[in-house]
Every structure is written in C-alpha cells, then in structure tokens.
C-alpha cells in the first residue's frame, strides 16, 4: 500500500489546457515536496510546502498543501509542451525523517 497516492497516474492534454494533479494520504506530513522528472534524468525539486493551507506559485504552477497536511495538489495553468514529465510528490512524516515518494503522474502535453 502506497503511503502517498497520486492521481491521475497518466494525463495527456493539449497545449494551453489547465490541469490538476493530486497527492493524497491518510497520514499527516510535516512537509511535502513536488519534483519533476524528465526521461533519462533524476527528479528535480520544484517546491516544498510545510504549513497546512499553504499555497505557493512557481510561474504557471500552483502548489497547495491541505489544511490537515494530509494532501497536496499541483495546478498547471495553460500547459506547455515543456511541462511534459513525471511529477512526483514526496512527504516527510516527521521533521528530519526520510522522504516517502508517490508513484508519480506522467503528464504529456501535446502541441
């Protein structure tokens, strides 16, 4: 059983569309991170959220941490082909503990 469930697993959209990816758990996390991974490369950190209800924006990407710190979402506005990749959420159960990763959402943005 995955501690962090990501949905959807696969998402294929057209350039210019909006999308939301979800990361859910029954456990509380002290912090949650989002990474993007491109083929043949390691994951790259996008953002870390630590406060319940926190919203962070990174250009067209908006990240939200749930009030109860059990879930998170990533919203992309006006997707571009360069957004294509595997998006991974990762949570830290307690401060200083090891990260647990979700299985990821494979996003394909078609021109």
């Amino acid at each position: 059983t995955q501690l962090l469930e990501q949905s959807p697993q696969f998402l294929s959209i057209q350039e210019g569309e909006n999308l939301t990816v979800y990361c859910n758990s029954s456990s509380v996390f002290s912090s949650l991170q989002w990474y993007r991974q491109e083929p043949g490369e390691g994951p790259v950190l996008l953002v870390t959220v630590v406060t319940g209800g926190e919203v962070k924006k990174l250009k067209r990407l908006t990240f939200q941490f749930g009030d109860a710190r059990k879930d998170s979402s990533l919203h992309i506005t006006a997707a571009q082909t360069g957004d294509t990749g595997l998006y991974l959420c990762a949570g830290e159960r307690t401060s200083g503990s090891r990260l647990t990763f979700g299985e990821g959402t494979q996003l394909t943005v078609n021109p």
Binding site: Q2, P43, L45, T48, A90, F101, G102
Partner: protein, 112 residues
C-alpha cells in the same frame, strides 16, 4: 563542476557478479541516499547516510551494501547481482536531510 554525479550511466552485468555504482557530490551535503526506481513501485529507498561512517537501511536494503568513508562519496554495491535488481538507481544528497533532495542522473542497471 558542482553537483552530484553517478557512474556508470549504463551497466549490464551477469547474475551472480558483484557490481558497484558510484556517487559523488561536491556540495558537502551531510545526507546521501540511494533509491531504485521501478515501474509500479516508484522510488524506493535502499540505504541512506547521515554523515561519513554513518549509514542506515531504507525500505529495500536486501542484497545491497553501502559505505561512506568520505562525505562526498557514497558507493552502492550489489554483492551478487540478481535479475530482480534490474532497475534505475538514483543517488541523492541533501543538507540536513530536509528541504529538498538533489538527485543524480541515474544508473540504468540490467542484470542478465
């Protein structure tokens, strides 16, 4: 160049052979990690290290050995490779183990 480098990028080995994957980081990060990435399982932690000479098991440590005699290096050894260890292996480092991990580009290992 500063960063985290893994070698080799690709490796094919035979069942039963010993193979070592190398990881080197130039940030002097205290924490280093080894993950394997497989379809259907995502990233799973094999071993991690909080400092030189301090290592600890992760989620899937069986069949693997690590050492960390120097802060910058964290090699992963498969003592007797099995086909189930065919995977993509990622090394990562972090300052104090939190606030984001920096990953290497990975080693794609095939055991035949």
């Amino acid at each position: 160049d500063a960063g985290i480098t893994q070698s080799p990028r690709y490796k094919i080995t035979e069942t039963g052979r010993q193979v070592t994957l190398m990881c080197h980081q130039t940030w002097s990060h205290s924490y280093m990690f080894w993950y394997r990435q497989d379809l259907g399982h995502g990233l799973r932690l094999i071993y991690y290290s909080a400092a030189a000479d301090i290592t600890d098991k992760g989620e899937v440590p069986d069949g693997y050995v690590v050492s960390r005699s120097k802060t910058e290096n964290f090699p992963l050894t498969l003592e007797s490779a099995t086909r189930s260890q065919t995977s993509v292996y990622f090394c990562a480092s972090s300052h104090q183990g939190i606030y984001g991990y920096t990953f290497g580009s990975g080693t794609r290992l095939t055991v035949v």
